[in-house]
């Protein structure tokens, strides 16, 4: 029996970045789920049960930090979360880590290929 595909949930409000990321993930062989803001992120996470979550921090409504806190306090707490943001202040990175983020990547500093590597490492 073929190994089932891993599912990645992308939480990103920018449409272009979201579509590029989704396309790249699909090319890599992952199943993709998307959410465009914090609230729907939590709902989608619960429904889709992803194997990994790529989480942006600046989201409309409920922000990324709150989503992170709620995720890590729910049944989904064992799902690895890679915070994927363009905020780079030291305090932001520390806050994310203290809330349970497994990695913190600054989008502008990596290509999507790099991100695929990081995801593979996280899922192995």
């Amino acid at each position: 029996m073929a190994e089932s595909k891993k599912k990645v949930l992308i939480v990103e409000d920018d449409e272009f970045l979201r579509s590029l990321t989704a396309k790249r993930l699909e090319k890599e062989g992952y199943e993709v789920a998307v959410a465009v803001d914090g609230e729907s992120a939590l709902v989608t996470a619960k429904d889709e049960k992803p194997d990994l979550i790529l989480l942006d921090l600046l989201l409309p409504g409920v922000d990324g930090f709150e989503v992170l806190t709620k995720l890590k306090g729910s049944a989904l707490k064992s799902v690895p979360v890679i915070v994927f943001s363009n905020l780079g202040q030291k305090e932001d990175m520390e806050k994310a880590r203290s809330l349970g983020a497994d990695q913190f990547l600054i989008k502008a500093n990596f290509t999507l290929d790099d991100v695929m590597e990081k995801i593979k490492k996280e899922l192995s």
Binding site: D14, L17, R24, N86, G88, Q89, K107, L112
Partner: protein, 481 residues
């Protein structure tokens, strides 16, 4: 102008000598008394001798204490010592007067009174007056208890007068002391005014009216409060501006990074054929676009770094890393740029190199920066040579030295002084490359020094430049600097 030290020493001798003056006084009183047929109960000279002896013991102790002091540093202690002495003076003169029945002795209370005026201004004599009266009151009221205390020594005292007569005497003493206080405080003021006059006469300045102590203190206090308020307001304003700038910088960097990520990923995915095959021309154009984008991202990161550095929020995360890998990665990134320009990139990679304790991300900025500059300012046909020098690995302070040598336009003598200054761009660099921010070397220096290394260069205009920087193998501080 006598020095503070001289003044203190003079004071010291004054204090010491006063003890002996009082002692001598006491002796005189009792010797004088002994000559005459005295009041019945006092047994001179034995009590007298005892009294004076006690006084001399105290004086000797005080003297020993003073000698042990380093007077030049302890004017405060000298003040305390003077206070103690004045109190003892009061006690003893009062006691002498009472028990020798020589009321004339009370005149000598003037000595501590005047001394206290010199020491504490107007308040001194008031203190003396009050203390003397209080002491007299104590001695008369508790005379019987005192006698019992002293009985084992085989001496006894009795008041020459009955207590009813002592009270008017006390009244007279009190008034005389009050007058003396007033006189002494006025004397004190005259003395300080005269000192001021002398001082200003010597310095040929116009004589200011000596402000009363109270006036000048109140005025200074008001000025201080006003100044303090001004400074607090100014500080608040600066803090607000600073925070606004920081917020602006962090918002700006974030806002800039988002579209930059979009461009970077779009070009990258296009170039890798994710949206269809790409011909060599298209690939080249996309590569140029990627390099521009990468450069912009680097500048945005540098701006954020500078801001963090200035707020000391830039933390170093050290770990043992292979320096060769970091340099190789950077060289790989710049390969295309160098090839297009016709500049040869060389990396003299040592076969063996121990891992160094580095903050890889930050060090990467230094390497990128120096490489970028080297390539930017070298013309076609030139070379950029990166070398890791390991000859100091086995010394007492193990470190490596990295050199980046180019055959480019070099740095003029005049520009060399300022090359590490924030936003500085050398004139020839500015001509060659008008779009530069001038913050690269400033950041590079900061990061190298954050690694406890040093950075320097040699350069000749028109011939080329070599940048050197050292990195120690271990950091004593593994945490944020």
């Amino acid at each position: 102008m006598e020095s503070a030290r001289e003044r203190l020493t003079a004071n010291l001798w004054l204090v010491v000598s006063r003890f002996f003056v009082i002692a001598a006084l006491g002796l005189l009183v009792f010797l004088g008394y002994a000559e005459r047929a005295g009041a019945p109960a006092l047994n001179p000279p034995r009590q007298g001798v005892m009294f004076v002896g006690l006084y001399l013991v105290l004086a000797a102790l005080a003297l020993a204490w003073f000698v042990a002091l380093h007077v030049s540093e302890r004017s405060r202690t000298l003040q305390l010592a003077s206070f103690v002495q004045v109190t003892i003076d009061l006690l003893f003169i009062t006691a002498f007067a009472l028990f020798s029945n020589e009321n004339m002795v009370l005149v000598f209370l003037g000595i501590p009174v005047v001394a206290s005026a010199g020491l504490w201004g107007r308040r001194g004599p008031l203190f003396c007056a009050g203390a003397a009266i209080f002491l007299l009151f104590l001695l008369t009221t508790f005379h019987s208890a005192l006698t019992l205390l002293i009985a084992p020594l085989g001496v006894s005292f009795s008041l020459g007068y009955s207590s009813y007569l002592v009270d008017p005497a006390l009244l007279i003493v009190g008034i005389s002391l009050a007058l003396q206080s007033a006189f002494a405080s006025q004397l004190g003021r005259w003395v300080s005014e005269r000192a001021l006059l002398l001082k200003t006469a010597r310095s040929h300045e116009p004589v200011p009216r000596a402000p009363t102590q109270g006036e000048s203190v109140a005025r200074t206090r008001q000025e201080l409060i006003a100044k303090n308020f001004e400074l607090e307001k100014a500080n608040e304003h600066l803090a607000t501006l600073d925070r606004a700038k920081s917020d602006f910088v962090s918002v700006a960097t974030h806002q800039l990074r988002t579209p930059l990520s979009g461009i970077k990923w779009a070009f990258d995915m296009l170039q890798k054929g994710n949206f269809g095959p790409v011909n060599p021309d298209q690939w080249r154009v996309l590569q140029k676009g990627l390099e521009s984008t990468e450069r912009t991202i680097r500048i945005v990161n540098e701006i954020l770094s500078i801001d963090q550095m200035e707020h000391q929020t830039l933390e170093y995360q050290f770990s043992y890393r292979d320096l060769r890998e970091i340099i190789a990665a950077s060289i790989h990134d710049f390969e295309n740029q160098a090839k297009t320009k016709g500049v040869t990139l060389i990396f003299e990679r040592p076969e063996r190199l121990p891992e160094l304790m580095l903050d890889a991300d930050k060090l990467r900025m230094v390497i990128d920066n120096l490489l970028e500059n080297a390539i930017k300012y070298t013309d076609a046909g030139g070379t950029v040579d990166v070398c890791i020098n390991t000859e100091w690995l086995n010394t007492a302070t193990p470190h490596v030295e990295v050199t980046v040598t180019d055959s480019g336009i070099g740095i003029s003598q005049a520009a060399q002084e300022e090359i590490f200054t924030k936003f500085y761009r050398a004139p020839n660099a500015r001509k060659q490359e008008p779009n530069g921010t001038g913050i690269g070397l400033y950041i590079a220096k900061s990061i190298v020094e954050g690694h406890r290394g040093t950075i320097w260069f040699e350069s000749e205009e028109g011939r080329g430049t070599t940048f050197h920087y050292t990195l120690p193998v271990h950091q004593e501080l593994a945490q944020a600097l």
